[in-house]
Subunit: 565 residues, 2 copies
């Protein structure tokens, strides 16, 4: 009964989307030019037509077109998400991302059937409206401790790994293109390298979508997800580098050197921009005790501005968002009210979840819409090289990394890291941005990228859960830390700092302790409102647990939902 | 120190807004045509320019212009709101709305000083993006019981009162225009009536902004606020009616009759559209128990679509939103999780609060920007007629209403109702929408409207608090209802229904009881997910109180904020 209803709703929704999707080619777009013209024109001319008698019921759709269509797409996305969870058998086998792509394909196909052009995932919409919520959600709730403890490993995979992938895939593809009989002689080396660098980057959206469903252990999760976040800087630099080179035609040694400088500027610049906005947000939240209601807004606006400011200078927006979220969080949480925190948390989750859904649906729709140029050799070569490069890269890098790690990465871990390297919509959007004049093979690239995305999302995404079960990879423990654990972790931290001090070895714990002291002595005083900064961490933690127990106690007596707050 | 900092921030923000505000004339606009061109053009041409060496740091502002400027305006609005609350002495005398208009005037003046054209509050942006959150917030949290109990009074003020005001002000203004020496002979009767109908409507945004600060008793609040909500239908119909007549030139008796039909269509149609979406939302929320995270989204999207759908057919969007919120709330609250409820509540409050702030700031900016046509006679006449019409209308209508009311409206009440009739941005936006070709006096109308808005917001808004204190008008009681009160209210309801049944009198309570039974027997079964509908109201209420006490107990031990949820 539920399945039927679900299909019915899908049909109805698609039916209502159909007349909309076509005309502008970009519903959900704030920048579609013809849409603008219509709106503006309508405003001025709509009242000119003189009618015989006063119209009791008149219709004026063009005016509300843009917001109405955006709402419809969002509604479609939410209903689909809802629908999948009503079919537990299906959603336990197939990941949501796959189902959403299928929905997108269906919707796109239906729109095409009616004779309209299905909309494409516009790069501007993707980068400015759909991606930021997902990254902010990830950045704000990033498990800082695990992230910093594994930062070396993550950076290795993100920087060296992505570079290796990009040049390996790009170089070999160029080799394939030079073979006779492939009709690919027009593809030059720079385009191949550009393509390689775009397709090498592991996609945070795809990784989140799949990894959140399989509940893998925290170490593997942070390694793969951290890589997908930090490789953004590498991808951005390589992308702009090869794009510029292709436009310019010549490459000098200086350019190569500037590329390395640029990498540092893009990554560190992004982090600095993010940190500045993060500190601003923390500082602002110090004064919000009288205006609780707009507290969440400051978090959203400052973060979004960090992302946009980074994008203005072609810095890494993703790293800016991560930095902003990570920097502001401890101070903001100490300043804002409990209910604002709930609002931020649930609103970010909601927003990122819908963005995510929309991205996958639009990927499906874009597949139906796009001008495709299918080349068997190129597509198969891309797919094979991607897989080979990933496997070789992970094995090679782990060999180096394991020399420095205390907890070594096992071969199971390596397999999951290699297998979890999913590609996604960022790669698609970057290629979509390419200028067809300089890149006549753009459509072929798009087709190849979509194929790789579909392969990783469908084949890898669907088989990773059974493989995780088969290999008995350690799963995530759902329990929260007890007070005992909290005390012992802190105790061990201090102990290790003491040992390092005695040894005269300035390691990880030494600098962490220095940073903590500096934070406590100066930063907290500036960024946290007066009376709260005095409460020791342990008491705050105890308080949290106490509160939770109180609520659980009441809820156990009355096992229903409440509308208290 | 705080004041200085505040001014510093204002200066910095305005400085950063200045280069932006000018060019397009409509920052925050999704439809500005030139902005679209730039974006589209940029996307395609941005990469054409070939540079000598690889640019380590490049700048591309046009691409992020639109979202960046929207964020900046939102940030300005939030910081202003924050700033006022840091100056308790100032904000206890001057209402926030006044301060925001002043900020808008300052920002507009600064933009003008630099030689750019300040942006104007575009009607499309106002009606499609700024107004809905405020109305949804009001509609979703509307005190249903008080609203229905006073529905007759509210309707009298909203329908008859607004009609009276419109024709009184419009007619007298036409008279004034006919006087010699006023240079207003070109203003015809229909334009005057149109102007009168627009300026007669009490504005929900202005009323909320002022009344929420003075904490007036619930009866007066719901009377004035209810009027401001329900008069939307009257205003919409009169506006379109006179607009059509002006365009057509001739009026027949049929047209007048159609006007009355149209009023019914617009108001009831709006309610029906809203109710349909409300039921859809309630029905959808029945199935969200597995996807808690997107629950709030359904509420927002369905409500917004209700508003837009009503606007497509020129029905009353405000009434659609109110109906949607009121219909969905009881069922949605029973279905969704406790945290989703917090998210909805706080997010709506945040959103409406920012919209509200932006509206008043933009009113100020628009005042500086606008092409003004100042006519002493017209402006003064408008202002005087508005005040006189309001006073006469309230006195006359109360005389009639008091014959039917059990709790009579005292002369103090009448004074507050008349004095609380604030005008606001809806009137401004409606006049702004007029086509200057058919209404050559549009600029003069705009100037007069702005004057009336400023007068009501500044003079009435600032003096209403001292007057309320002086007259010792009953204030709102902040305490929540105890279980005892809850039981007695329900008991009295049943008792009165029983008495009505015995008397054979089918009154208010009889029909309410019938509706309740119908709701319990059929509607709840469809719209509320299984296990929850069984819990009696009293136990749910007891549960709520219990939960609140548990949290208060924990919080009293640790008087700090928590980041538990």
């Amino acid at each position: 009964m539920e399945l039927k209803m679900f299909i019915l709703v899908l049909g109805l929704l698609v039916g209502s989307l159909m007349p909309l999707g076509g005309a502008s080619g970009s519903p959900g777009s704030g920048t579609g030019q013809d849409e603008c013209k219509k709106n503006n024109g309508d405003e001025k001319n709509g009242n000119k037509t003189t009618k015989k008698s006063f119209p009791v019921l008149s219709l004026n759709y063009e005016n509300v077109r843009l917001p109405f269509e955006i709402s419809l797409w969002v509604l479609l996305a939410s209903l689909m998400k809802l629908g999948f969870h009503l079919m537990p058998r299906l959603s336990s086998i197939v990941p949501e991302s796959c189902l959403l792509i299928v929905v997108g394909l269906l919707v796109g196909g239906l729109i095409k059937l009616v004779g309209k052009a299905p909309p494409v995932l516009e790069s501007n919409i993707f980068f400015f409206y759909l991606l930021p919520p997902i990254i902010l959600d990830a950045g704000y709730f990033l498990p800082i401790r695990q992230f910093t403890e594994n930062l070396g490993t993550i950076l290795m995979f993100a920087v060296v790994g992505t570079l290796w992938n990009a040049f390996f895939v790009g170089g070999l593809l160029y080799g394939v293109c030079q073979l006779e009989g492939t009709n690919l002689a027009g593809v030059n080396l720079l385009s191949c390298l550009l393509f390689g660098s775009v397709i090498s980057a592991v996609d945070p959206v795809a990784v989140l979508a799949v990894f959140e469903e399989i509940h893998i252990n925290e170490l593997l999760h942070i390694l793969v997800f951290g890589e997908s976040l930090l490789n953004d800087a590498v991808t951005v630099v390589l992308y702009h580098l090869f794009e510029e080179f292709t436009n310019a035609g010549t490459i000098t040694v200086t350019d190569g050197f500037l590329g390395i400088v640029c990498f540092l500027v893009v990554s560190l610049g992004g982090i600095v921009v993010g940190a500045i906005y993060g500190i601003l947000a923390a500082f602002t939240s110090r004064f919000t005790s009288h205006t609780r209601v707009i507290e969440p807004l400051f978090i959203f606006v400052y973060s979004y501005m960090a992302y946009l400011s980074a994008e203005v200078f072609h810095l890494s927006g993703i790293m800016a968002l991560i930095a902003c979220g990570a920097v502001m969080r401890p101070y903001v949480e100490a300043n804002i009210s409990h209910k604002s925190h709930t609002t931020i948390k649930y609103f970010l989750k909601m927003w990122s979840s819908v963005s995510d859904t929309l991205i996958f649906i639009f990927l499906g729709v874009s597949t139906v819409a796009g001008p495709h140029e299918w080349n068997w050799i190129f597509v198969v070569a891309t797919l094979v090289f991607c897989l080979v490069a990933r496997v070789l890269g992970v094995i090679g890098l782990t060999f180096v990394i394991n020399k420095f790690r205390i907890v070594k990465l096992t071969s199971k871990d390596q397999f999951i890291i290699a297998y979890g390297g999913l590609r996604g919509a960022i790669a698609f959007s970057l290629v979509y941005l390419l200028n067809p004049k300089h890149f006549p093979m753009r459509n072929m690239f798009l087709t190849a990228i979509i194929t790789v995305i579909f392969f990783t999302v469908f084949v890898q995404g669907m088989t990773i859960r059974p493989l995780v079960d088969l290999l008995a990879v350690k799963k995530k423990q759902e329990t929260k830390r007890s007070i005992n654990e909290e005390i012992h972790t802190q105790f061990l931290d201090h102990l290790l700092t003491g040992i390092e001090d005695i040894c005269g070895h300035y390691g990880h714990h030494h600098w962490k302790d220095k940073l903590n002291r500096f934070n406590k002595k100066y930063v907290k005083k500036c960024l946290i409102a007066g009376e709260r900064s005095k409460e020791p961490q342990l008491i705050a933690f105890y308080h949290k647990m106490e509160m939770k127990q109180a609520i659980e106690l009441v809820e156990s007596v009355f096992p229903t939902t409440l509308d208290l707050f």
